[in-house]
């Protein structure tokens, strides 16, 4: 018998001690952190989550998934500038139509259902041009999915919830 999906509800403002306790200094372990092990090119991806007023969100949680390497989870409430950082392996392209990318999930107070997006890399322009998913996104919005290279192994990926630079979010 087909069963209806249990509805999503917001993660709310008080998830830190339950989901990212070590990062926030609570006496409880967490199942995943901002560091994802893996052999290959080690990179750091830093960004902020920006609301419709242009302000950085202090109570969001972002998760990333790399099937080749693992799962990461960080809250935006502990860095002074309210940024998140993932130290991870840089993924390789998975096929001629799949450029290197990282799946990201965003949760926060004010989101009744979580958001999915993807992180691509500025210095993989050739692979990006043949990526099926990027090509399915209207051209002017593709740049919102591409992390900027700020130095060797350093990338910037800001997530804009609204406004002119609103990030592409996926229904998947």
């Amino acid at each position: 018998m087909a069963k209806g999906q249990t509805p999503s509800q917001t993660v709310g403002p008080y998830f830190a001690y339950g989901l990212v306790a070590e990062q926030y200094g609570y006496p409880h372990t967490q199942i995943a952190t901002g560091t994802i092990a893996g052999e290959g090119e080690r990179i750091a991806i830093t960004g902020r989550i920006i609301d419709g007023k242009g302000e950085a969100v202090s109570d969001a949680m972002i998760e990333v998934w790399l099937p080749e390497a693992g799962f990461g989870r960080v809250g935006t409430g502990t860095a002074k500038d309210l940024s998140f950082t993932f130290n991870t392996v840089k993924p390789l392209r998975r096929s001629e139509f799949e450029a290197p990318s990282i799946t990201a999930i965003v949760f926060m107070r004010g989101l009744l259902s979580h958001l999915f997006t993807r992180i691509y890399f500025e210095d993989e322009a050739e692979d990006n041009a043949s990526d099926n998913v990027l090509n399915s996104v209207p051209q002017p919005r593709r740049t919102t999915l591409i992390a900027k290279r700020e130095g060797p192994g350093q990338y910037r990926f800001d997530i804009h919830l609204q406004g002119e630079h609103e990030t592409v979010f996926f229904d998947l």
Binding site: Q9, G12, Y17, S113, N132, Q162, D171
Partner: protein, 235 residues
């Protein structure tokens, strides 16, 4: 890592991104339509955390935060099954929970509600579903608490749950409510859920799950997206 297929997120069961009565959605809900994405390897897989990652008291919130004695409040048992849309159990899957104490106060540093912290209650826990998809927590019934959404706004009693499920696509964060709570009618987070699906968020009191002389039992089954069949690749 597990690999499986997942049906679409059924938006007739989930709250919309913009729901103005819940004021925090106004500056945080994306304004442009979601872009459909055909599942690739990344969406057909997800992290797996086994029993080895779970501490002996992780499922027992009546004991995992105790320092000098037992927490105050009404002891409850929260149990149920995690199922796919075909009703099949989702086994060996992680559930994390967090909640306010009996007085309606979270241990979180940002919570400024004037109700007391309970020195013997932390409010966070986790467990892994068994071979029937079943989970079981021991905890304290959380209290209602005020919030700033609108005048005289109070959250109904609730427990937050986070589930990984078999794939990233089946990821779910939700809240479990209690039967008969008069605050449900006034809560924009609950009311933002499509009407036909709201009752799926309310647990049932169960005498079978109740332990004589110890704790009341509530049953809450959770249905994740997808049909947990033998994995195969779409081309």
């Amino acid at each position: 890592m597990s690999a499986t297929n997942s049906s679409a997120r059924d938006w007739s069961s989930h709250p919309p991104l913009l729901y103005p009565p819940y004021r925090s959605t106004l500056l945080r809900a994306p304004t442009r339509p979601l872009v459909p994405l055909k599942h690739e390897r990344s969406e057909r897989s997800g992290p797996v955390y086994g029993h080895d990652r779970i501490g002996a008291l992780d499922h027992d919130l009546t004991r995992n935060g105790a320092r000098t004695g037992e927490p105050l409040g009404e002891r409850i048992i929260v149990t149920g099954r995690v199922l796919d849309e075909a009703g099949r159990p989702i086994r060996n899957s992680l559930i994390e929970i967090w909640q306010a104490n009996a007085a309606g106060r979270y241990i979180h540093k940002v919570d400024q509600h004037g109700a007391p912290i309970d020195p013997n209650f932390f409010g966070g826990g986790r467990c892994i579903t068994d071979g029937d998809g079943r989970y079981r927590f021991l905890t304290i019934k959380p209290g209602a608490y005020p919030w700033g959404n609108h005048p005289n706004a109070w959250r109904p009693n609730h427990i937050h749950l986070s589930l990984l499920g078999p794939t990233i696509a089946s990821r779910l964060v939700t809240q479990m409510y209690f039967p008969g709570d008069p605050l449900l009618a006034h809560d924009p987070i609950f009311q933002g859920t499509p009407e036909k699906a709201r009752n799926r968020l309310i647990s049932s009191f169960s005498l079978d799950a109740t332990e004589e002389g110890f704790a009341l039992g509530y049953v809450f089954d959770i249905v994740l997206r997808g049909s947990n069949e033998t994995p195969f690749e779409h081309h």
